[in-house]
Symmetry: C2
Subunit: 209 residues, 2 copies
């Protein structure tokens, strides 16, 4: 399976297609066309075909795609056929929102440890996971071996937390703190800025006025 030079936007759309296929599959639909997928998620049929073409031949011309097979293939491409262990650092409002977000578990992302520095939060149990002090990261993380670290601490502490997670063997970091983090090249880093979504929205609205 080729995985080189795939645009990130394609990966994001594959993620959306897979969620749509879950819905379609639940309804008992067996085959689906690129046009149906396109309509369901709000992109063009050509875009759907182009996105899928990166990964080989899936459908049958004039028949469409087998829903279950396509779904399974996309999940495999996205690395979602396995479970991923996640460590979350920072149980503020956003950390709490993410740690109780059902969508993560459904997609195989299991939060196995949560850390915070607020004594009032330590010892709390969130969705079955006990909140531990950040000082314990270096003790706990090497044991639970999460592949992914999610950072939802204030910007001033984010680099320190990232360093600890990397030291403990975490290979991918999703950073919600509004700063540029430095991680070694072998660690996959993704920064999420929540206002980016509002900005795409205002750009699109602006273009219409």
């Amino acid at each position: 399976m080729k995985t080189l030079k795939i645009p990130e936007a394609t990966i994001m759309r594959l993620s959306v297609y897979s969620r749509y296929l879950t819905e379609v599959d639940r309804k008992g639909i067996i085959t689906i066309s690129s046009g149906d997928i396109a309509e369901g998620v709000g992109v063009s049929p050509a875009q759907v075909r182009k996105d899928l073409a990166y990964f080989g031949e899936f459908g049958i011309r004039g028949v469409g795609y087998n829903v279950k097979d396509l779904h399974k293939d996309i999940l495999k491409i996205l690395g979602l056929s396995a479970e991923w262990s996640v460590s979350l650092v920072g149980l503020g409002n956003l950390g709490l929102a993410l740690s109780t977000y059902k969508g993560f578990k459904e997609r195989g992302f299991i939060i196995t440890s949560i850390f915070d520095k607020d004594p009032k939060k330590i010892g709390m149990v969130v969705d079955g996971v006990e909140v531990m002090p950040v000082e314990m990261i270096e003790e706990v993380v090497p044991k639970t071996k999460p592949q992914i670290g999610v950072i939802t601490v204030p910007g001033a502490f984010a680099q320190e937390v990232a360093d600890m997670l990397v030291k403990c063997g975490v290979s991918a970091i999703l950073n919600f703190a509004p700063i540029v983090l430095n991680v070694p090249p072998e660690v996959e880093l993704r920064n999420v800025d929540l206002s980016v979504n509002l900005e795409v929205l205002t750009f699109n609205v602006g273009g219409r006025i």
Copy 2:
């Protein structure tokens, strides 16, 4: 200014560049090269030049860009030279995280009304805004005239809330509920799925193994 056929990924990167330019400007730096921007945000210099080229000529070859001018131009492109009034519906963990998110206000997104259906939350004041019952949307929204509605209610209520917001004249909706919403074509809709970011991460990690 041409605003047609700009890839969404470009808009998202412009949003990231603008945030980086804020940092650079604070440090008192006057000019910057595409290489510097690229390094600062983690993309290639060619990508930076390509993204900016959609909107005209900004820099001077061999000299670079004037930080303040480029920043102002990008903010204008993104529709961020004005303030946007935002109505948030659903004050769960995510709603609370978003309504207290400093990044929104800094970028000109001002939350002017918050609605929830939980009697315990109604009357609470979040960052100066009083939480009102969802039944009051149709009374309050036409008065405060938010351009943007942010939906952070459970999936089962999201369509109903979207319908109310559209009826009250909201022209753009950012939807965090995990369902496909139907809105009239003149309303700009953007769906945010928080697990998409984890999936881009696992795809990238998978590609390296």
